[in-house]
């Protein structure tokens, strides 16, 4: 069968599966809509969290980023996994015991203040919209690439599918669909990686092949380790050493930190730990989520290294002198059509050559690394179709999770807790569904008319989460003395500083965005960690000179610190 037909078939089957699950598990109450009734077993919840977490961007682009930046790419690998340790140890069990639905719920109750709740709602909505815009675009790109429709049509199809199961199913529907989506996406990611690992190193486990000697076509060891080969190629072609990278140590430190603390402050991740039955489950659920994430995240750098060697050798040839364009493998010309690869024969010798600097003749987009892997490794057509289905699963699962946070923020935090406290459960559920529907339309608009700054706003989302929500939540749990004045001052100080720094370097004066101009050589991507420190400092200072925390709130903090009685908190 042809690739095209196979792709339609596999994508069609997976979509039918997702919608079937959504219908089977649709939500009947607000509790089911917001937190799946609080009854999701920890392993399943971990799997759903992992699918929610791994977006189209990490499925398609992350291996490419690591492949092109080597050691520097570690900031994402450590940053987007290390945050789960913070979640498990500092937040998940306590928030589960607290037992309400949302992050603004906790901030509002703990700091006995509508103002604090409002700041949290604004952060939650902003962060989620930032993300979802990029996701809808991702859906569009994957559809257009593999189904040969244009990007806008791809976005419309994606909107329709997400609408169906997020609006209908709520958290309950989403969680069970995400379990299915995780299985699809991890299978789609691992199959090509394993094939490539066997082909290049003879190891079936990519994580082991990563540190092994390369083998030749006959399967004999070449005596050269993959990573030594890469460092050698990098030196030869004038790139930074693959295993050393080019970012400064302080910047690597701060970006990793901002991503870790940002991850632990993202509302759509935190809310997953409200959905498990017990405090005990919240602890292990974070562990399972990280297991499922780490399967992909430890494979990514291996795939990145395999592809880099493979790509350089394909273009420059085994002798490093360049390969005749006329004899290039067919995947080069087929991806040239999409504009992701460009060949410009500068010296007119008819050979392709890839290097750092002005002699470079190849423009290679980083997304190629995952998208073209099946072709580079000459894998069967069904693998190509599978990668399409995997990319879509990643994009859809993340959009649905984000959409839910947006609709919950509007119907629960804004309407029920702020503007219309008297509405019935049924009415609130209707508002939640309406908000989800409106959210999809807005997200779809951004998907079709992407703001040019999608990549830049991702730094924004993590920076804001690290500098606003993370400190407010952790201080709320670990300090009984932190009062509302301190928390609000801290959130505003962290938020203002981080936002101002990012807006200045990314939007107002992008020309000045160089290490010499940065504060302590910290890039806008890493400034959230600094903003977090400012938040803590401001909160503690203001807390010292203002009124004490009411006794009832101190008792509440006392009660979330141990698990006993969590069942009562569930049905309030």
């Amino acid at each position: 069968m042809e690739v095209q037909t196979l792709t339609y078939l596999i994508v069609g089957i997976t979509f039918a599966l997702y919608i079937g699950i959504a219908v089977w598990s649709r939500a009947g109450s607000t509790k089911e809509f917001y937190v799946a009734g609080g009854g999701v077993p920890p392993v399943m919840n971990g799997m759903a969290t992992a699918a929610d977490w791994m977006s189209a961007a990490s499925f398609i682009s992350l291996a490419g980023i690591v492949s092109f930046t080597g050691y520097d790419g570690s900031v994402y690998l450590m940053g987007w996994t290390g945050g789960y340790v913070l979640l498990a140890l500092l937040m998940a069990p306590y928030l589960r015991k607290f037992g309400k639905f949302t992050v603004p719920d906790f901030v509002g109750d703990r700091y006995y203040s509508q103002a604090a709740r409002t700041v949290a709602v604004v952060c939650a909505i902003f962060i989620s919209f930032t993300y979802i815009a990029g996701q809808m675009r991702g859906v569009g790109v994957v559809f257009s690439r593999f189904l040969e429709v244009d990007v806008d049509t791809g976005v419309y199809i994606g909107m329709a599918v997400v609408f169906f199961y997020a609006v209908l199913g709520g958290m309950k529907g989403i969680t069970y669909t995400q379990v299915a989506q995780y299985c699809v996406l991890i299978f789609a990611f691992m199959v090509p990686a394993i094939f490539l690992s066997v082909m290049m190193t003879g190891h079936i486990i990519p994580q082991l092949g990563f540190g092994s000697e390369l083998v030749d076509a006959a399967g004999n060891n070449s005596g050269v380790f993959l990573l030594d080969k890469l460092d050698g190629l990098s030196a030869q072609l004038g790139f930074a050493q693959y295993t050393e990278g080019s970012k400064s140590m302080i910047d690597v430190f701060f970006i990793t930190g901002a991503l870790m603390f940002g991850t632990a402050g993202l509302p759509h991740v935190i809310v997953r730990f409200f959905t498990v039955p017990r405090v005990k489950d919240a602890r292990s659920s974070a562990g399972w989520a990280l297991v499922f994430i780490a399967i992909m995240y430890t494979t990514i750098p291996a795939l990145a290294a395999f592809s880099r060697v493979n790509m350089i050798e394909t273009v420059n040839g085994p002798d490093g002198q360049g390969v005749e364009y006329a004899q290039a493998p067919s995947w080069i010309s087929s991806w040239e059509k999409t504009g992701l690869i460009e060949f410009d024969d500068k010296n007119g010798d008819g050979k392709m050559f890839y290097t750092n600097g002005e002699n470079n003749e190849m423009k290679i987009d980083r997304d190629i690394i995952v998208l073209a892997t099946p072709e580079i490794a000459s894998l069967p057509a069904w693998v190509i179709a599978l990668v399409a289905a995997g990319g879509l699963a990643a994009a859809l699962s993340t959009s649905a999770g984000l959409l839910l946070v947006i609709s919950t923020s509007v119907s629960h935090d804004l309407l029920k807790k702020n503007l219309m406290p008297d509405i019935s459960d049924k009415k609130e559920l209707m508002f939640a569904r309406t908000a989800a529907a409106v959210g999809i339309v807005i997200a779809g608009y951004f998907g079709i008319n992407p703001p040019g700054f999608v990549a830049a706003v991702v730094a924004f989302a993590f920076g804001l989460a690290a500098s606003s929500l993370f400190p407010a939540i952790t201080m709320g749990i670990f300090s009984k003395k932190m009062n509302k004045e301190g928390a609000i001052a801290g959130m505003l100080a962290g938020l203002t500083f981080t936002a101002a720094y990012i807006i200045y370097f990314k939007f107002v004066n992008p020309g000045a965005n160089t290490p010499e101009n940065w504060l302590f050589a910290i890039s806008p991507e890493g400034i959230g960690l600094f903003g977090m420190l400012i938040n803590f400092a401001a909160a503690i200072a203001v807390c010292k000179i203002t009124t004490a925390v009411p006794a009832s709130v101190q008792d509440m903090v006392e009660s979330i610190r141990f698990p006993k009685g969590s069942g009562e908190a569930r049905d309030h």
């Binding site: 690998l77 750098p301 141990f562």
Partner: protein
């Protein structure tokens, strides 16, 4: 109040804090320590075909993170049992 007395509650919380801090020390040591601050030094050492610092940054830290969470879950659950504040 689920604890027999305030002293017990305080002791439970102190033990919990000690557990969390010791695990977070390992968390920071493998990522910020071995993967970033000491990376050049550790890269002198070769480990299963990797430079050790690079391995921590792109493989090792993630494996340790997973282990840390499950160790925490097991120890925190045991602590709940010890002070009789586990869920029914």
């Amino acid at each position: 109040m689920s604890f027999k007395n305030d002293d017990k509650a305080k002791r439970y919380w102190n033990e919990n804090i000690k557990l969390v801090l010791s695990l977070l020390t390992i968390w920071a040591a493998v990522s910020f320590g071995c993967g970033i601050l000491l990376v050049d030094l550790l890269n002198e050492i070769h480990f299963m075909g990797f430079k050790l610092g690079f391995w921590f940054a792109q493989q090792g830290s993630m494996y340790v993170f997973v282990v840390l969470i499950f160790v925490y879950a097991a120890k925190a659950n045991a602590l709940d049992e010890k002070y009789d504040v586990h869920e029914d």
